[in-house]
Structures are given as C-alpha cells and as structure tokens.
Symmetry: C2
C-alpha cells in the first residue's frame, strides 16, 4: 500500500493554492516545465482535454459561418508597425527572429503575439465587393508573448495555445453582433462544457485590446478569490481596416471601409478548469471533457475472480455500446485502493466498484468524483443509470462553482471599502466609478486589484451616484478584483 | 458570360506544369503568398482539406496507441547541440530567436525545425521502468527550415504544417515495427484517401535523417515525372536515447537504453494531391477529401423555377440525410454555365444537373469530375446511386495515377542509360548500385536527379550485378529520379 500515499496532492488547495496547483498539474500528468523559463510541455492527458474543448468550440464556430485557415508564424516588423496601437501594445513583449541559417535577416520578424497585423492585409485582399462580406476566419495555433513573470502552467507562459478569430463586416452593427456571438459562445463553453459560471462584461477604455473600439470578456472566479480573464472578443471598429485597407464596393457602387472583429480563447481555460474543480485528491473533470468518464474497478479474490471479471466486462460492453468513455481497470499488479486513488488523481468522474456482493445481487456500486457520494444501483439499465449519474456530477460541479461565485460579488462605496473587502474576502467588488484610470491606481498599488470589467451596456446606470474612489460623479459600475 | 473565361487555369498543366500549379493554387483559393518570401497563407478551402486529411491520419494514430501532446516552439541552442548529427543537419537552416521584448537573449532559441531535441529529453523523464514503454507521442504543428529556394506552395516553404510522432521502445525489434506501422499508415493515407499509389523504400545511407539508423519514405510520382517524398519514418536506433538519456529498468532490474523512432508527414501531401489529379479546368479532389462532394445545379426558366427548385431541394435533403456533403447552388445572379465552371475550378467531384426534363422524367443528370462523363439516372434511390458514383470517381482517379506510375519505372545499366532515360521520360530509373555516394554525384550534377530510395529489405539482391555508374559490384538497387 506504500504507493498510495504518493498519489494525492501533498499541498493544500485551501491553504497553499499556488503550490497545490503546481503539484496537481505535474502529478496528474497535465504538463511539465520546459528547460526555458516560461515554457511548458503539454502532456497527453492535458492535451486530450484541450482537444475535447476544441471540438466543442470549433463545431460551434463552423455552425456559425467561421472557416479555419492558417497564417504565417512570423510577422515582418514593418507590418506590425502599420497599426500604431498594436506596436505600442505588443512591442515590449515580442520575440524576434533575427537570423535565418547563418545569415542576419534584413528585416526582423516577430513571432506572432496575435495575428491582426498579418491576417487583416489578407482580409483586404479577399474583400472586393459587398458580396464578399462577412469574412470569418479562425486559426488554432500558438502565440508568443515575452512576459517576464513566473511560469504558471496554462495561466502564465511565454508561449500559449489558443484560437484567434478574425472577421470583416459591412458595418458596425454586423461587427458588434459578431463580437457578441463569439462572447456568447465562450460563455456557453464555460457554462455547458467546463461546468463553470462566468461573468461577462466590457473592459474599461484604458484596458482595451490595442486598437480596439470595444473589448469584451468572460471572467471566471478562482477559488483563491482571483478573477481570470477567460476569453476576449473585440470590436475593432475601422482602425485595422483603415491601416490595412479593407474596403469594399457596396451595392450603390460606393467604396466603403469594412468593420472588423477579433476574438480569442486560450488554454488558460484549462487552467481555470483545473483550478476550479480539483481538490487535494487530484484532478476533477466534468464528464464532458474527461477522456475516461467511467472507471470500473473489479474487486476479487482467487475464488471470485472469474465471475467478477466476466460481470465487469459485460458492464463495460454495455457502456461502450452506449457511447460512454469507459475503462475497465483489470490490472493485476495493483490493488483496488491504489486504483481508486489513481483514478481520483486523474479526474475520472465516476467509479464503478464491482465485487462478489454486486455480482450476487445484480447490482453496482457507483462512486462520484469529487464528493465521494456512493450509491448502489441495479445492474439492469446500466447505460441510462450511468448517463444520469454523469449529468448529476456535472450539475454538482456547476452548482458548487456557482455558489462560490454568487457569494463573492460584493459592493463598496469608498476606497477603504474596496481595499478592505477585497483584502479580507477576495472576489469581486462593484462600485460607482468616474471612468478615470487614475482612480484605479491607488487600488492597484495597494492590493494589486484592478477593474476587470464594466457592464457591456454603455447606458446602464451606475450602482452608486458617486465614484467610490474620488467621489466625483460616477459614470459606470466598475468590478474590481485581483487577477491572474 | 464574360466571367466564365476567368475561372479556368490559363496555363497548361502539360506544357507549363510549374506555372499551372501556381495559378491553380491561387485561383482555387487554396493558398496565397505571404509578404515574406518562403511563407504562404493557407486559405479556408486549402485548410479544410488539411483538416480532413488530419482526421483520417489522427484517427489511425490513436487507434494504434499514439497520444497527442504539445511541445515548445523553441529549442535552446544547447539542447539542439546534444545530438551532433542533428546540429550538422539542421544548423544551416535554423531560424533563430535572439531577442525577447527589448532584451537580447542569453542563449539563442531555435524555432523548431523538427523536435527530437526537445521531445527526447521528456521521453527520458517519463521513462523509468519497462512498464512505461512504449511511449508514443505526436504533435500537429508547424516547423521552420530556412531554405533559400523559390516558394512553391505546399512543396517548398520555410514554414510548413506537419505532424511529428516520437516514440520510445524496449528494443530494436519493437522500434522497427513502429517505424513500419507508421510508414504503412502513410501509404494507406495516399492510397485510400488521396487516391494516389506510392512507392515505399529506404533512403540511401548518405541521405538518412540526421542521427537515424534507418530512414524510410513513401515516394509519389508527379505528372511532370518528378518524385515527391511524401512522408518519412525513421528508426533512430539508440543515438538520440543515448544523447538525452532515455533509459529504463528492465524486468531483470538491469538498466537498458531505449530505442526511439520519429515519423512525419507534412502538407506536402496536399501539394502532391493537387498536382496529381487537377487539370486545366482547376482543382480535382477525391470525394474523401472534398468539402463539397456533390453540387446540385438547377436549370430553370421563369415557368419552371418553382418545380425545379422544389425537386432539387428534395434531392438535397435525401443526400444530406445519407451523410453526403452536398451543396444546392441556387444563386440567382449566376447562370448554370458559370456555376459548372466554378464547381469544376473548386474540385467538386460530382455535379447533379436538374432541369425541366429531369423533373418530368423523375431523373437526374450526373456529371463526373474530372473526365466529364455524363450519366442519366433515376431519381429514386439517389443516395445509393450517388454513393456508387463517388466510389467510381475515386477509382477513376486512382487508376489514372496508377497507370502513370506503372509506365514510369524503367531500368538502366549505365550512366548514359540513367541520364538518357530520365532526361527523356522523367520518372524512376532503377539500376544496380555499389552503395557509394560518389556514384550519385555525376547524375546529380548532370540532370539534378538523385537516388530517392533503395529497397527496404537490406538483403534483397540488386537487379543487376554491376553498379550502373562505376561498374563495380552492385550492393543494392537504386531508384533514381528528379525530385521536388
């Protein structure tokens, strides 16, 4: 039994969230640290979850008019410079290729930090008439941003996997609708696939994507009270279209400038997922994303082995036929206790235990991850029963995350109120805000919390009449939180 | 009708293959040239074909024990240097990142030209006991090789998309079996999905992958008589395992060194596909890979429009239900002739024409791409009929490529014979070869043909007793050809 102790996470999620997360990622085989700081290796178990996430989102994109494409990894410096906000925004964190083979390059090439600067010129090339619009392209790729911070797998890495969608439209209305569609799909991904409720809103003006007219995001609350930006969708207005000349001849034969959007969701969604549901036993996954949804663990002695195994194989066959991702763990060199711990560490949502009693009574023992709820059910109709239990497990995960989120949105009416509330509880604090970036500064300086969003509706009345920081007239409601 | 002339390819495939190919790629919307020489943009129509190809190959990989993962884009120079053959082989064509943000990096980072040097150290980390083997990981990604040649979309580009598989095994036998399995899967991809027969063989010693014990490849013959290396599978022996310390404790408690393999297939498969089947009307695709397998073109006048359209929609519904990828082209602003040309340009394998006659007689007119064969069939049972015709179209494409290949393998017994035969006909010339690289040189120098493969079986008797070039004793049979 000595191996069992090694399987759980030794750090405590509650008391040492950062250390616990780092240990979880490695012990559950999700990722390893690369030799260069800021880079990770996504291991098969982690990557399989990314692939499942991709399948959902990519399917929704394609159903709503998006086509995948692939654009170059490198962007010539002169292209990056065409949109001035992008240069200012990304220049400090670009990785530059300066040598090809033994030769110095004439022009430096940026490893893409995001691809507006190389994609928009092609949207321009492909757009002639109003009939060519809308154009919607997306690519799944990696991007590089040279930030000098501590590596946190899936949260903070210099290279990360994501999708970036880029679209061009006739007018503002179409483009804003596009921005909203993608934000809704990100929300749906979190809620229906990751079992995580999220908030959605707009970034304050001073924190928009460089060159954007409007930046929207979904925000997820982590168990340590910090907010994670879980996906962003930008209405870029005509700034990129003007810089790269995306124009079209309209029905009335007049030339008009297109309106563009871009939107991206990265593997940070995985980080948020792992962080939210997992516990001190290891990874917890919703059945939607688990590679193995059900692990069958037979418990035998010499006399019962044949019967137990035959019964278990039969259950496995029924579940497979019903499309359940099931694994019969019939390893001989491991005892049931070790297997329980290992499947818990790896995030298998449902365990089925089968011993002599179950065989005799035509029953099964089901055990839920993460709360350990144990139920005895009839063997007959196992596929429907398991499907119901997987739904229940998803619902439990969602309800738990929802309860956390609901209790963590508070109000404040003064600077001290903001500092005290976030300092004590974490979570979100909403307050009246004048709209001035300077009023965010003292909060940032004191406790590293910032305005993570304001309401999407620009006409929404602020919750209080006065800015909680400066006391001037409030323009909107600000949501302060610490962030990842 | 003026628009119709623009749709076909103006260059001739037969007389100006290179120019024809370049025009095909752009007019059929497969790719565009990026602003930096050597890079291309893969457009949605091209990328969708890549995605279908990926689905086949990725499915077979997963069925045979391969797990996907993702490793860093960059490789520290010191890691690349650990396997000396790799450095020598790839150093001249590495793109180097030397700056991150505003800072010079302490160590240059190679943009991966291939990932053995960053993946093998992790195979080492994950391999402890014999139970951990075999390990098989694969990644779908892009790699960069800074070659200074003319850009040829999907054939010659500095960045290209591919998959690279990397595995570690107990011993030579297991590893060689792995190499063979992947080569067989590449062959199957070409034959069963791309409708292209291929040769498979081993690379001569002097043309192996750097550091490999054995390099095998599939070779496809292009219509201009040149050979394309369509995928490679390497048995790396223990050279990488030793350089990066991939060892395991065997059942007998002894430490042993693992044997590794790597294998890759790039978007060059797309180039070979486009080049092989397409014609002066445009793209030709096998039904396996076509985004639209069937285009229905209704032909109406004012009186017949409602009836024709209703009939066509009904046919479309039947085909959709049967899982056929069908598109009803009911655009009002285009005439049928334009539509025919456009679907031909875009590589739709089967066209269904529906006019008043077809409606009256409960029939359909089917037209095959590429040979234009036209058949009138009964409306009833359309799904089965279409499925049969799609199979026939696939068989036609394969048969045509097979006929070309079979006629293009010739023998020679002298240097003049090799030069004359390849010079006159192109294709493959097989001959006796002493095994010395020096005997390849005069052929390379004279007509830029090289030894593309030798038989996989090292014990196979050469077809002639003497080396066709030097006249010494022949060790094996060499296949000479010009290459892409």
């Amino acid at each position: 039994m000595s191996g069992e102790q090694e399987l759980g996470i030794t750090e405590s999620k509650e008391h040492a969230t950062g250390e616990w997360y780092a240990e979880l990622v490695q012990k559950a085989g999700l990722a390893d640290y690369a030799p260069m700081g800021g880079f990770i290796v996504t291991r098969p178990r982690g990557y399989a979850i990314w692939e499942r996430l991709q399948n959902y989102l990519d399917g929704w994109f394609k159903q709503t008019g998006v086509q995948n494409a692939y654009f170059p990894l490198f962007i010539p410096e002169s292209y990056l410079e065409k949109e001035k906000d992008v240069v200012e925004g990304f220049d400090p964190e670009v990785a530059w290729v300066t040598q090809g083979g033994y030769d110095e390059l004439e022009e430096r090439l940026a490893v893409r930090p995001t691809s507006e600067s190389i994609i928009t010129p092609f949207l321009a090339q492909w757009t002639r008439s109003h009939r060519d619009l809308p154009i919607r392209v997306n690519q799944w790729c990696s991007v590089v941003r040279w930030e000098a911070t501590e590596t946190k797998p899936f949260f903070r890495t210099k290279e990360f996997l994501w999708q970036e969608g880029h679209t061009a439209h006739h007018d503002e209305e179409d483009a804003i609708e596009e921005m909203e569609t993608r934000l809704e799909q990100y929300k749906r991904l979190y809620e229906d696939v990751l079992a995580m409720p999220v908030l959605s809103g707009r970034k304050p003006e001073h924190d928009k994507f460089p060159g954007a007219h409007t930046t929207t995001s979904v925000e997820a609350l982590m168990p340590d009270g910090k907010s994670v930006q879980g996906g962003t969708s930008h209405y870029l207005g005509t700034s990129f279209a003007e810089a790269y000349d995306v124009t079209y001849v309209d029905e009335d034969e007049k030339e008009r400038t297109a309106h563009t959007t871009s939107w991206g969701l990265s593997w940070r969604a995985l980080g948020a997922l792992f962080m939210t549901h997992s516990d001190d036993q290891g990874l917890v996954l919703p059945p939607t994303l688990a590679e193995t949804q059900v692990a069958i663990v037979p418990i035998w002695d010499e006399d019962s082995k044949d019967d137990v195994l035959a019964y278990a194989e039969d259950v496995e066959a029924d579940l497979k036929e019903a499309g359940v991702r099931v694994e019969l763990d019939d390893r001989d060199h491991r005892n049931p206790g070790f297997k329980y711990n290992e499947h818990e560490l790896n995030g298998v949502p449902l365990r089925i235990e089968i011993g002599s009693y179950e065989v005799e009574d035509d029953e099964l023992t089901l055990v839920h991850r993460p709360d350990g709820e144990e139920v005895t059910v009839e063997r007959d109709g196992v596929a429907d029963t398991v499907s119901d239990h997987l739904d229940t497990i998803f619902a439990k995960l969602y309800a738990s995350a929802e309860e956390t989120l609901e209790g963590e949105i508070r109000e404040a009416e003064s600077r001290e109120g903001i500092l005290g509330t976030i300092g004590q509880h974490g979570g979100y604090v909403k307050c009246g805000w004048c709209g001035d970036e300077e009023c965010e500064e003292p909060i940032k300086d004191a406790i590293a919390a910032e305005i993570v969003m304001v309401p999407k509706d620009r006409d929404e009345e602020p919750i209080h009449d006065e800015c909680a920081i400066c006391g001037e007239e409030a323009e909107e409601t600000a949501y302060f939180a610490k962030t990842y």
